[in-house]
């Protein structure tokens, strides 16, 4: 019996080692891709949910629902406080896309409350819908329901129409405003 030459045995061993290493590398690569994919899926939520975030000099965020743009949010500065579950913004501008209306809400400052998913906008708040402009000192919006509320004064003006009062519910999706007390309305007749 002829023993295999030493070089041939050595070559066989190297080949097997190479095969094992290749398989191991393949398994590791697949595992790596799997965990990388998972990491990307949850990336935005993780950043928003676990770590503070500070953006200065302009930010833009948007949300899609069923393939359609639901709302967009932009402003100057953005600070997220994870321990309090809220974000603060300056000069916020929220565009809400409802089936029949596109509504623009602006103010000087805003807070987003992650728990209730409400955005509270304050100081010189303006709501523009169709030809109307609504002005109020403060407003709280449920972005999912597209309903805004406030307890303070509101003044709604359009072409030839002025409505004022205190306390309101603004259904942005339906383009309907309810003023809850002290209503004064003016309708100017055509010249």
């Amino acid at each position: 019996m002829n023993p295999q030459p030493r070089d041939a045995r050595s070559a066989l061993r190297r080949r097997k080692i190479f095969e094992y290493c290749a398989m191991l590398a393949l398994v590791l690569a697949m595992a790596g891709l799997y965990f990388l994919g998972r990491g990307r899926e949850g990336r935005q939520e993780q950043i928003f949910a676990r770590s503070g975030l500070e953006l200065q000099g302009g930010f833009f965020a948007s949300r899609f629902e069923n393939g359609a743009l639901s709302f967009s949010l932009q402003g100057r500065d953005f600070n997220y406080y994870p321990d309090q579950g809220r974000a603060e913004m300056s000069e916020p501008s929220v565009k809400i896309f409802a089936p029949e209306e596109t509504v623009l809400v602006k103010g000087k400052t805003a807070r987003f409350l992650a728990k209730t998913r409400r955005i509270e906008i304050e100081d010189q708040v303006e709501v523009r819908v169709r030809d109307y402009l609504a002005q109020t000192p403060a407003l709280s919006c449920d972005l999912d329901q597209r309903i805004c509320r406030g307890e303070k004064q509101i003044a709604v003006s359009g072409r030839g129409v002025e409505l004022t009062g205190q306390g309101y519910i603004f259904d942005l999706g339906k383009g309907r405003i309810k003023i809850l007390s002290g209503v004064k309305g003016k309708f100017k007749q055509e010249p």
Partner: protein, 167 residues
Amino acid sequence: MKKILTVLLVALLAPAAMAQAGKGKSEVAFSGFTWAPGELVEINADKMSVSLSERRAEFEGKVLVKKGKSLIYCDRLAVNYLESGQVQRLNAQGSVKLVEGKSFATGDELEYLKDQDKIWLKGSPELASEGQILLGELMVFDLNHNKLLVENPRIQFSRNSNESPQK
């Protein structure tokens, strides 16, 4: 069979109308309700709801409409208006009272259509002016033609014509 009385205000409410007109020309009651160009219609109420797409505003609770020389008091008021703000239709319901000078009318429902320039007063309407009270089932103030139409009219006269009847 329903009786219908068409009244040129000279016949029924002539004294009041003449006094209001002040020019020797009789005018139908609430002629001040006719629109003046650029005039403001002011409405006060406890609360309201407006549909921006339908251009329809609904006022509720202690509603007061100030329009020219006329005032309307009611519990609920619906206003339909054009894009320009021009009021096209008013519908007042619940304890309706329309006041102009010393004349006033009451009923359950009032409807005004600008394109017809008419006021319909329904629900036991009463018109009082200068000691005279006109009652009926329906009153239509035709502001454009200076006429008042009353269904099933009844007239009451106060003993002292200087006393304005109070409701």
